[in-house]
Structure formats: C-alpha cells, structure tokens
C-alpha cells in the first residue's frame, strides 16, 4: 500500500502529453506525398509533354471544414509541399507546368517560386478541402478526415484531376478530463 501511495505521489509534476485526434506533421507528409504521386501518375498529366501548351496552376488555399484549428500558414503548407514534391520530381519541366500563387500571397511567397512566373495569369486552380466527422462520447473521441484535392481548368470549369486522402484517429478518455 505504501508503495502505491508513493508511486501515486510521484506521478505529480510530469509533463502532460498531447494526444488529440488532430492532423499533424506526419499526416502532412503522408498526404502530400500521396497526392503528388497521384497527380504525377494521372493519365491526363502523363499525356502532357514539354511541347504542350503551358498550364499555369495557381495554388489556392486549403478550405478547413474540420473541427481542428489550422492556422493560415499551415493551410498553405499542405499545398506548397505538394508543389515542392512535384518540383523535385522535375514534372513541372517535363509536363510544361508553371506554379503561381494568388496576388495576396506574393509578399509571403517571395523567393518560393520563380519570380519570372509569379505574375502569370493562371489557367488552372489547385485547391484542397478538408472535412471531418467528429464523434465524442464518454469513452473518447474520434475524428475521420477526408482531405480532397482538386485541379480545375479555369477556362471551362472542367475538373482535370482530383483525389482524396482519408485518415481516422481516436483517443480514449472523456474530453473534460
């Protein structure tokens, strides 16, 4: 019994662990890797060559419809990392794709994209929308995320490419404890 009491006293001031059902940096990497692969492997993209008409893809922001706080700078990370993955694979040159950002992001994106391209009028829009289904009970909480990426042709509104990434997280314990 004494051991139990001492052990209990020792729990004392140890640091709290954050165990949430929220998306984290690992998800960011997994999601953007998967989406970049999907984009690069899409037949429509695959048919394009260096001689194809240039696609100017504007990086739009992520729409957050989850119950998780995602600060603006983090929303941008989701798409800029995907673009960076594609840039690393040299697909932009081989498929004649140029990446641009909306004017409101020009100051923040300085140095991120090639400056000669930054102000080109976009032909396509890349966007992402995150949704979640949250369930809470006395046993714990779970969040199922569906993160959808879409590339739209601005000219005719045609959906050129889309894919989605799903993940579910659950934690035990009541939310108020």
């Amino acid at each position: 019994m004494f051991a139990l009491l001492l052990a209990s006293a020792c729990v004392g001031c140890s640091a709290p662990a954050v165990r949430t059902t929220f998306l984290d940096s690992v998800d960011l990497v997994n999601m953007t890797d998967r989406m970049a692969q999907s984009f690069a492997g899409d037949p429509v993209i695959g048919r394009r060559t260096e001689a194809s008409e240039t696609w100017v893809i504007s990086i739009d922001r992520v729409v957050n419809h989850t119950n998780q706080i995602i600060p603006d700078r983090e929303k941008w990370l989701y798409i800029t990392r995907m673009r960076a993955q594609l840039a690393g694979s040299n697909i932009a040159r081989r498929r004649n794709i140029v990446w641009v950002v909306p004017p409101e992001r020009w100051p923040a994106a300085a140095g991120e994209l090639e400056s000669r391209h930054r102000r080109l009028p976009p032909t396509h829009l890349l966007a992402a929308e995150f949704q979640t289904l949250t369930r809470t009970s006395a046993a714990g909480r779970s969040d199922t995320y569906v993160c959808a990426f879409q590339l739209t042709d601005i000219g005719d509104g045609r959906l050129v490419w889309e894919d989605l990434w799903e993940v579910k997280y659950a934690v035990r314990g009541v939310t108020w404890n």
Partner: protein
C-alpha cells in the same frame, strides 16, 4: 515491544507528513499577473506569465490560457496565437489526466493537469474563436467554437454537492454512470459557431442560431441580425471580474465558485453619436460557474475527505486495541497503515483552487451595421469607468466584418485616461506617419516600422532627407531595436515582446482596435533614451538633446 511500536509510529507518521507534503510547488497564484491584468497593463501581465507558460508542467494549460487571453487583449496576435494554439491542443486532448486520477485521489488534486471545470473549458474555446475572429479567420472561428459544444453531465436538477456525495459513497460507480448526458446550453458557443460557419461558407449556421434561440429566447435581436448577415462590425466584449474559486467545508475539501462582481448592465454602443442597442449579455459566467452541469470534480474531493476521516478514526482504534493486547503487533501495524493512508487522504483532500482568474463575469456579442468610419464608443450601463472610445473606427463590410475583442474591467478596477482619449499621440503602421512627423527615437512621435512609404513621409515633412530604408533600419539595429509588425512578420519579433514606447526593444504595431493598441498609442510615454552614439549624435539635428546618464 511497546517502545519499538512507538518508534514505528513516529517513523511512519513522519513518513506520512513528508509524503503528503507539497506535490508540485507551482500552484501558487500569480498575483503579479492578475494585478497587472486588472490594471489594464496586459503587457506586464504577459511578462509575469511568459516563463510559467513555457514550462511543461501541470499548469501548462492554465498558464497558456492566461497568457493567450492577456495577449489577445493586448493586441499581440503572434503571442496570442502561440499560447491559445497550445491551449487548444491540450483542451482537445481526451483523457489528459487518465493516468493521474489515482494520484489525485490519494495525494493532491494539484497533481492533475489543470484543464479547468467544463465551463472554463467551453469559455477557453470561445476565446480561441474570438482571437481568430479578430483576424477575420472565420474557418477557425467555426472550428474552435464547435469544440465548445460538448455534452454535459446532468445528475438531475435537485442534486447538490451533498446529495451527490451521499450517492457516490453508496455506489462507487455513481459518478461514472449516474448521470444523463445532455446537450449543452452554451448559447455563446452556438452563436460563435454560426458566425464562423456563415462567414466561411460552411453549412449549418441557421441550425446553430436555432439552437441558441432554443436556449435563450431573449437572444432574438442578435440572432436576427446574425441570420440576415447585415453587419460590418462584430464586438466581442468581456466585462468585469469572473467568479473566484474558494475552498470550504471540512478539511477545505470542497470548492465553490463565488461571484466577485455582481454589477452587470447592458452594453451601450454609440457610433458618431448615434446610439445602438442597448445589448444584453449573451453569457453569464457567474451563473455558469455554479451550475452543477458545468462542474465535475467537486464530488471526488468530498469523497476523499470523508474517506480520510474514516481511515484515521479506524486506524487509531486498531492501534489502541493492538497495543493493549499481548499479541497485538499485527493489529498495530495494520492500524498504522490505515492511519497513514487516512492522513494521506486527508492531506490530499484540500481542494484544488486553481482557476482562470482572467475570466469575465459577462460576455457580449454585438453585430453592428456602421457603414462609415467614425468614433466608436462602447461601455457598460451603470459603469462609466468601463467606457472605451476608438476615434476613426473603420468597420469592415457585409460578409467580412471587422471583429473587435474588448476586455473591459468592472467597477472595482481603475479606469485609466487612455480608455476615453480621442487623441492618438503616436503614428504607427495603422495610422501611417502623421503630418510633419519623424521617428520617435529621434525625438519625433512616429513608431511606424521602416518601409518605403514611411521614409517618403518623413522626407515630405523635411526629415531624414538623405535616408534610405536601410539607413533607417540600421539606426534601429544600432539601438538594439527589433523591427517587426506583429503577426505580419512574426519571425522578426524574435524574443522582443515589449514595445519601445513601453521601455522595451520591439518596434511593431499591435492589432488596431485592441486594448493594447489603445493604451500604447493614446497614453504619453517617457522620452526615448538612445543607446548608440549614432542616434545621440543625430538627434540634435532634429531639435533633441539627449542627456547621457
């Protein structure tokens, strides 16, 4: 043998007193922070909290909420986002104290990571939402608010702490199974989620407003405006000092929240002399704090204390009986063990009185259609000292309102002159350089961060004619001043948080229409005292002679 038992008693009871001593040493109230906060010096409150908030201990959530609330009022979006973001993650962690509950019951509830009573948690989500509203980030307003709408545990309207304890003593599972999970009555949360959903294009705003109306029919005027979307300004006002948490009863084992201020009037708003409202509050924090559905730990404390008394009494009887019998050694040891456990229970029964001291007693949400720039005056009816004035207030527009968070203290707090001042003393990134002005560090009254526009404005007034942006930036650098502009360039803020007007090393502009901005720009500050020879040598050209100490 009896002498040996006596020694054992001393040894064991000494062990008890040592073991039952203070578990964590950091549960003292931070009176400096509280005093500064309620003196409208949010900057000093933040300084008193920053080190504690960085410590990863059982008060990490409490200290980050305190820091975040002070930074929100102070208009420092960078620190507010950091502190409130960390708080949000911890608030959203289910079972944060799962492995600590036994320790809490046996030793001291202070070993629990402070997560607040449920009403404090719901309010904390509200302040996260309020912060994002001031940034116009309505998606995150909706996300934060959604988390505040958790279900509550209802043990029945007739329940009191005493009857709950009795039931819990009769049935150990009662606290886990004896309640009904009921929908929240947190109308403030529904209103904020509706605002966030509506302005971010998410679904569900009408349903959230319906839910708020079901809880409180008197919200009809506000709900009507929110439903129409016809507003360009959103006031989020915290008023007064919230309830304090006090221990009472046997062994100070019980806690209750006690109102500190009872005055609550309607919010009175005028814009260029035109009256709006009055507006009634949408959240009564005093009432929430005493509602059993919004509290959850009191019962455990009561049970602990009761168990402690029983064990101590039982242990003493066993020791006495054992000592008086020939073969009582085993009984004595058992009795001592019971006494030790009882003393530990009693030592731990002292209630946890940590709470969020910065919580207000009343919260107002006011959507307004102002249309034009003008003088905005906001106060609480019956408390003239609470009135704050923003001359030249710029509303937003329909669909993108300007949200303003105001922290107004009650009747027992000071009312500094800057609250109602209509004369801005310093130019900054929001106002631009005032006519014929030059940098404050050279004797002028401008604290704008250097950019092309700023330098051109100085030159137009006949100052710094031969200066480039780099020259001006170098001048600040020579003074050890960190140039930043709040959340716009957060990286440049580094660790310099206090503004140069306040004797610090940071040059930035707090969020306009915040309390911190009003204090900084509308109250006189001491003349700048240069550190570098460059500024000392340059300043006489602008009519300023600095005296070197």
């Amino acid at each position: 043998m009896m002498r040996g038992i006596g020694r054992a008693c001393v040894t064991v009871l000494t062990g008890v007193s040592l073991t039952a001593g203070p578990g964590c040493s950091s549960h003292q109230r931070n009176y400096t922070a509280v005093h500064s906060y309620y003196s409208y010096d949010f900057t000093a409150a933040r300084e008193a909290l920053r080190e504690d908030a960085g410590r990863n201990d059982t008060n990490v959530l409490l200290n980050n909420m305190r820091l975040g609330m002070a930074a929100l009022a102070d208009g420092d979006t960078l620190e507010a986002e950091q502190a409130l973001g960390r708080s949000f993650d911890l608030l959203s962690t289910a079972g944060l104290n799962d492995d600590r509950t036994t320790a809490a019951i046996l030793v001291d509830e202070g070993v629990l990571i402070w997560k607040g009573e449920p009403f404090e948690q719901a309010l904390s989500y509200y302040w996260v939402a309020a912060f994002y509203a001031t940034l116009g980030d309505w998606e995150n307003v909706r996300a934060a608010s959604a988390n505040a709408l958790f279900r509550l545990t209802d043990f029945g309207s007739q329940q009191t702490a005493r009857t709950l304890t009795r039931n819990a003593a009769a049935d150990p599972a009662y606290l886990e199974t004896g309640y009904t999970a009921v929908d929240t009555d947190f109308a403030l949360g529904f209103l904020m989620e509706a605002i966030g959903a509506s302005l971010s294009g998410a679904a569900g705003a009408d349903e959230q407003l319906d839910a708020a109306m079901q809880i409180d029919r008197e919200l009809a005027p506000i709900v009507s405006v929110l439903r129409s979307g016809d507003y360009d300004t959103l006031l989020l006002v915290d008023y007064g000092k919230g309830p304090t948490k006090m221990a009472y009863g046997p062994d100070n084992a019980l806690v209750r929240f006690v109102p500190q201020e009872r005055h609550h009037g309607h919010l009175v708003v005028s814009h260029d002399g035109v009256q709006h409202g009055p507006f009634r509050r949408v959240c009564n924090v005093n009432r929430m704090s005493v509602d059993m559905r919004w509290n959850n730990l009191e019962n455990i404390r009561v049970a602990k204390s009761a168990i402690g008394n029983v064990l101590l009494t039982g242990g003493a009887v066993t020791v006495a009986a054992g000592a008086s019998s020939d073969n009582g050694g085993a009984a004595v040891v058992a009795g001592l063990a019971m006494m030790m456990a009882g003393a530990l229970f009693k030592a731990g029964a002292a209630a946890d009185t940590r709470y969020l001291e910065f919580a207000p007693q009343s919260i107002y949400i006011v959507p307004l259609r102002l249309n034009d720039t003008g003088e905005l005056r906001v106060g609480v009816d019956g408390d003239p000292g609470s009135t704050i004035v923003f001359p030249g207030f710029r509303p937003g527009r329909r669909g993108a309102p300007q949200a303003v968070y105001l922290r107004m203290h009650g009747l027992d707090s000071a009312d500094p002159p800057w609250l109602e001042s209509t004369w801005a003393l310093y130019g900054n990134d929001d106002t631009g350089v005032l006519d014929n002005d030059w940098p404050w560090i050279l004797g002028g009254s401008d604290v704008s961060t250097p950019d092309q526009e700023t330098v051109e404005a100085y030159k137009l007034g006949g100052y710094l004619a031969d200066f480039t942006i780099d020259d001006l930036s170098d001048l600040y650098l020579a003074e050890g001043i960190v140039i930043g502009a709040g959340a716009i360039h957060p990286r440049t803020r580094q660790r310099a948080w206090r503004h140069i007007l306040d004797g610090g090393r940071a040059l930035y502009t707090p969020q306009p229409w915040s309390m911190g901005y009003k204090r900084l720009m509308y109250s006189p500050h001491h003349q700048y005292r240069p550190r570098s020879g460059r500024v000392r040598n340059l300043s006489p050209r602008y009519g300023i002679e600095y005296v070197q100490r």
